[in-house]
Amino acid sequence: MIFKNAQVVVKDKLVRTDITVENGRIIRLGTADGEDAVDCTGLTIFPGLIDMHVHLREPGAERKEDILSGCRAAVRGGFTQVCCMPNTDPVADNKVVVSYIRQRAEEVGLCKVHPIGAITKGQRGEELAAIGGMKAAGAVALSEDGKSVLSSKLMANAMRYASDFGLKCLCHCEDPSLSDGGCVHEGYNATIAGLKGIPRAAEDVMIARELVLSESLGLPVHICHVSTFSGVQLIREAKARGVKVTAETCPHYFTLTDDAIRSFDPNTKVNPPLREERDRLAILEGLKDGTLDCIVTDHAPHHEDDKRVEYDRAAFGISGLETSFALSYTQLVRGGVLTLPQLAEKMSGNPARILGLSGGELKEGAPADLTVADLNKKWKVDPKDFVSKGKNTPFAGREVYGKVVYTVVDGSVKYSLARGDRA
């Protein structure tokens, strides 16, 4: 198959080239002609996008999402690879659950799904999970997802033991004694809405601890969904003195502020919470200067029943797979923060490097994972169109640019805008 006449992101450049794909691999970047050519005039081809932080909910919470619906949402959003968090039921803290997820994803056959194993058994923070077994079964990283391992000693041991198996810990940073049942960012808007706040310190204290552990052990650590200006600063300073830290943020943290919570719309409830303009600007700066390496969705699909309740009672989380690319392109590239190749690094190259995944770059010999997008296409977010079971988005009605036209995984078209996702 030949993708013709597109603008293509190759390393740090935009080039006009055709891409020839054979047997699931890119065999040629350069002018080509053939029978099965797809005309991509006016379109842009990115290395297949990778989302290293999603929740697919299977096994256990299939009412919210399952591997099929989650993968359909992923390819509709342009993602060729996703890494799914272990907070399933049962928890992905052993090789059986990890194997199940991989096997089910293979049956579904849309995007590549890489399970992330729990750091501790049952995410209880008491004993290490079966890390070696999970690695053998295909886990690509470890995370306690949704909480921090509270014992600093156990966390240090997790980093050490994980390094024996070449795995990194992806750290959700939250001191629960500081977040203390809060549901929005602590500040002016929380005061006026009368909702309990989560201070920045709840996140920053744990970011600081993980940085100290990483630095003292000389081992890598990855900080999940950074939302605070002060967290960005902690990571920037750590990187400057050589700490092996990488970090991610999400589209909602660089697009929205906690002004959005004043509507009491539970779709604005997410953990960590939407912060202030000062934080949003720092996140943009962190993406620009490289402090923040990747953009992830923290895709957290929920059933309507989990959201159509009092704000305090509503579940945390945003269904993000189908809006991430457009929000990122609109805010960051059209907003003048990143170039297209830099966006590709945040959404593909860096996640691949951090987790040691194949892909992340368009070059001859690489797997033919491609995301083909129409950047000039303006569209309006409508959760009714989501193929994810989770319609929970605070972006309903927002106008964005950039529509995914094809998602190609190992050379086969898994999503086509014209045909829908059942390619």
């Binding site: 002016y188 005061t191 006026i192 009368g194 909702l195 706040g197 009491f264 009092e310 704000y311 305090d312």
Partner: protein
Amino acid sequence: MTRKDLLGLYDLSAGEIETILALGLRFKAALKRGEKEHTALKGRSVVLLFYENSTRTRTSFELAAKFLGAQVVNISVATSSVQKGETLVDTGKTLDAMKNDFIVIRHAMGGAPKLLAETVKAHVINGGDGMHEHPTQALLDMLTLKEHFGQIAGLKIAVLGDIRHSRVAKSNLYGLTKLGAEVRMFGPRTLLPEGLEREGAIVCSSREEAVEGADAVMGLRIQLERQKAGNFPSLGEYQRYYGIDENVLHAAKKGALVLHPGPVNRGVELTSGVIDGAQSRIDDQVLSGLAVRMAVLSLLGGEERA
């Protein structure tokens, strides 16, 4: 008033507040004359849906609705289907299907009345939601002040205590500043939330600074569990540094009023001398509450008559 619901004073205009207070004053005068039979809500029904315990607010709403001629139903959440796991939205739909005209809701979570109001056709009145708002309490405070001083504009009001958790303090801040009063706030740093200045509050650094020259001093109820949660060391220390006694009151204007939303922890927020003293309007506030709730019910869905 053209609005369907009363969810808070944040969204009300000064004009709307003045309208409620003017009618409230007429109802209060009528109550003082012993007139308890009105017809504004004749043929209407009012449901009191209280998810939190309350004696004074619930009784006040119940009497207000009855004096206006409405049928009143009390739902005690402890014995209702809510205990069987029914959601607020479903409870609202059920009450709406019974063609109720008003639902007064009290709830521990901020925003719950708004969710209910979006679900039902009935008029929804917020009887206090979490740390968010308690509009009729602030309106009754303002009614008490207006009756005594003639107008709210230009008054200096000191609000002392657990501002963070107080829906009463927030509703008063919005209402009083909209009508031109100066609102000073003070409490332990652990119980002062961020951002009050943006809504016009003068956040003071001492009790004395807040009370100095004030026309009225409002104490707020301190929940005893706040001490356990580490916000202050003991009730004794709270009283000593944050409570209102005769000495503190001395710094206020001569004859300044003392207000408290009740129920009072005697000897904690206020000393008994202050509660029972000549400047206390705590009992008068209760009558104002009845009158202002009659005004709110009438204006939202009945005929304006007093």
